[in-house]
Symmetry: C2
Subunit: 497 residues, 2 copies
């Protein structure tokens, strides 16, 4: 196994650099003083180049060839070679000058975007975003040529290895047919509910933090291998065995930060549960963005917005904040946590309307990469799509096509993973509950151990041993379809409500 | 200037890696969860190897040659070439297998030392420390051959570029003649002082922290380019324009943490004041460990333990903690902050006895590197030296030769910089006060701007433009001698007391 050992030692060093980058990124968001921005950008860019050089080292190709002939490799080692080959193909597909040009265009566009969004000035952003798009198309072509994919699928593949737009089209079309009518019905059902009084704050940050820590502990988050901090944009990051999450507190409303902590804890459980023996190898990483998002949404949407969990957690919240009155009953809290509203902004959207925001973006970015939609026509196409899918029309581009950083920052192909994640979450939770009927009752007692045990065995501990489709089929008995997700939405918003 | 530009760009990348390492080190001490230790050690070792490979890249020698012929280089650029040459010579002097062997021996010895110190078990540590010493001697020889220095001076040179033991011998002999009699006199003077009642706590951590931040601000510490946090062993670290200090709070005693914050702020002012235009280059770094320690000791010992500063700060402390009674008068606080005591432990020593601890270690490590003292004879030599220099004999090796991590961790040649720093601090503060007679009165008003302006101009902003001796001569009119330091001690502990 000498060639394999050499190769895995090389990728362990690459992982050591990635772990350094993960901590620098976390520090950047959670700790870094403002004046350090330029120094930090230099450090991160330099480490990223070093990592790229290590990953694309021509000796990797030789070691891959040699390791493929090693005797006695097990399933994990074979899968690791497959994943290393995947990384190597992607990283070597794009010429260095194209990477540099894209990185420069993204920096310029991101900076311009902050102002353009504030000013609702799509025309001002257009030349910058055109440049980013042109380079994304070029990168998609370069990667696609290497991988035998069309450009959009090649970009998607960076976030969702093995993902294909043909499959996503089918899933999203199914959902797009369902959603508008469903949202109408959900809003009608909601209108028939009693009106709840507001939760009266303020809610001290320290109490919110303690409550978050308490629920993280209940979920099985390992504080010896992570932390909870504050950042403007909540995320889960850090390094192997050092999985850090952040949130943002609002003294006027505890519900958002608290559910945000549970969401990030879902991501963190995945990262903490990756296979220890392969932690530093490509095969030991999370499977892809849709599976990652499925873990946060399974915890947040499926488990923690369930009536069972709110019945357990509601009294704890009420006691922590000294709450009183009808706004604090478990039923009222559950209604608050499952409120549906048609809005313009994706990040504020609820579980029922969120997929419409994603489907719109997916269709638009796919058309722009294919050249079927000119960037200049984006605002009109956006507003048409919002009308069709959500029944609302943004009054300006700030509340429309300028709201997200993904396109300015070069994240084309990322959007569909949010809703693939929501569907995957529904399908996994359904399978978990069927495999262990105590999972939901245990959650109602604040005990997540049965759920997490199932996730450890079927998702977290599997790393990249299998391709995504295979992972899901092994865990749930079938490939991803929209059925379980639609059934979940109907049950929660039309029946339980 | 193309060769020079290439070379400085290369060293800017090296600096970017060093800055990453600085943040990882800070995080390790201040933020990291326990379970991440192995991951972090891998990341830091990997980045250290990458940095070493970049520094010793054979192209550096070619670029140095070519850049030396560049026309139009200014003083800073010439000095940068000198410093780059210095770094390159040191880093390439030691074969990679010797570096690796030393690093391995140090890891094993450090771990064994923690237990050996607890158990006061010098014999148990002996084989581990022998290995470290043997490799230090070998490294000293390898570096010495390249630099034309004897092994001890070659080790010293890592911490104190240009430092020579012949010069240190003369300075330390002078001080060693002076100290025993002086400490007798200081203790006698102290015995004649009134006895002060204790400061009654508890002193809440949040108040201690606020007070530290308040004095940091008064000192001109730039919070846009740094932070104050907590760690077991206080230090100043971080990165360029991201200078972070730590302290450790004790609710029973605020005085130590508060003065510790001021000490680290002295280091931090140096780091924040390095020349912006050369921040990422060897010429833009701090001059060496003695000058660095001089900056912390100048702030802590010279400025902040002065009667002038305590007269200003004492009432602020009293008010912050709601203190009352005779323990809280500025005079009583000043007596507390200038108490002299013969003790066994260096890190607990006061300004007057600290140099004796250092001189002992310096003489012993020099003899061990030269082969004039066998490691097995260290405990006896240690205790003899303590008797001679300090008039006390440690009852065991835990309170004797096992107390410091420096030797187990391979830091041979570091110790003298503490007392060189104390002497340098005295000489610089004396020169500063003569150059600007308002410096001390301003400190009495809590205004450090005149002092810091002088330090910025004469030390911080000079980076490595000059060699240490040259820097000091330019700033103070003469080379380092023990005279000003001795005069300072006599004035403070015999006259003012």
């Amino acid at each position: 196994m000498s060639a394999y050992s050499d190769l895995s030692a090389h990728f362990a060093r690459i992982s050591a650099v990635s772990n350094a980058l993960g901590i620098l990124h976390w520090d950047n968001a959670a700790m870094m003083p403002k004046g350090a921005a330029a120094t930090r950008a230099d450090s991160m860019a330099t480490l990223a180049v070093l990592r790229h050089d290590m990953t694309t080292d021509p000796r990797v190709a030789d070691m891959l060839d040699a390791a493929g002939g090693d005797d006695g490799l097990g399933d994990w080692e074979r899968a690791n070679l497959r994943e290393i080959g995947r990384v190597f193909a992607i990283e070597t597909a794009v010429p260095a000058d194209l990477v540099a040009a894209s990185s420069k265009a993204v920096s310029a566009c991101e900076m311009r975007w902050r102002q353009a969004r504030e000013d609702s000035d799509f025309v001002g952003l257009l030349p910058f975003l055109s440049e980013v798009l042109a380079l994304q198309r070029e990168m998609g072509r370069a990667k696609g040529e290497r991988l035998g994919l069309d450009p959009y699928d090649a970009l998607l593949n960076d976030y969702e290895p093995g993902g294909r737009s043909a499959a996503i089209d089918a899933l999203f079309d199914d959902l797009a047919d369902f959603l508008p009518g469903f949202v109408d019905e959900a809003l009608a059902a909601q209108a028939r509910r009693p009106a709840d009084p507001p939760l009266e704050g303020p809610f001290p940050v320290e109490t919110q933090r303690s409550l978050g820590l308490r629920f993280m502990a209940a979920l099985g988050y390992d504080f010896e291998r992570g932390r909870l901090d504050v950042s403007t944009h909540p995320f889960c990051g850090g390094a192997d065995n050092d999985v850090r999450i952040t949130t943002r507190y609002d003294e006027a409303d505890f519900t958002t930060a608290l559910m945000g902590v549970l969401h990030e804890t879902g991501h963190a459980l995945y990262e903490q549960g990756r296979p220890q023996g392969h932690m530093s190898q490509p095969v030991g990483q999370a499977r892809g963005m849709s599976v990652h998002e499925s873990q946060s949404l399974l915890i947040e949407m499926q488990a923690c917005r369930s009536p069972e969990f709110i019945a357990f957690a509601g009294p704890i919240m009420r006691e922590a904040f000294g709450g009183d009155g009808p706004a604090w009953t478990p039923e009222a809290l559950w209604r608050r946590y499952t409120r549906v509203e048609r809005g313009f902004i994706r990040v504020d959207a609820d579980e029922a309307t969120y997929p419409a925001h994603v489907i719109l973006r997916y269709r638009l970015e796919k058309a722009m990469i294919a050249g079927d939609l000119a960037l200049a026509d984006l605002p009109g196409a956006w507003n048409d799509g919002m009308g069709e899918l959500l029944g609302v029309t943004p009054p300006n581009d700030r509340l429309g096509c300028l709201q997200d950083i993904h396109w300015p920052s070069g994240g084309w192909g990322y959007f569909p993973t949010y809703t693939l994640g929501a569907m995957t979450a529904a399908q996994l939770f359904d399978a978990a509950k069927r495999a262990d009927p105590d999972i939901l009752p245990a959650i109602g007692r604040g005990d997540f151990a049965p759920l997490v045990a199932w996730l450890r065995a079927n998702v977290h501990g599997q790393g990249c041993l299998y391709e995504t489709d295979d992972l899901l089929t092994r865990a749930t008995g079938r490939a991803l379809d929209a059925g379980v997700f639609k059934a979940h939405l109907k049950r929660r918003y039309l029946e339980e409500a």
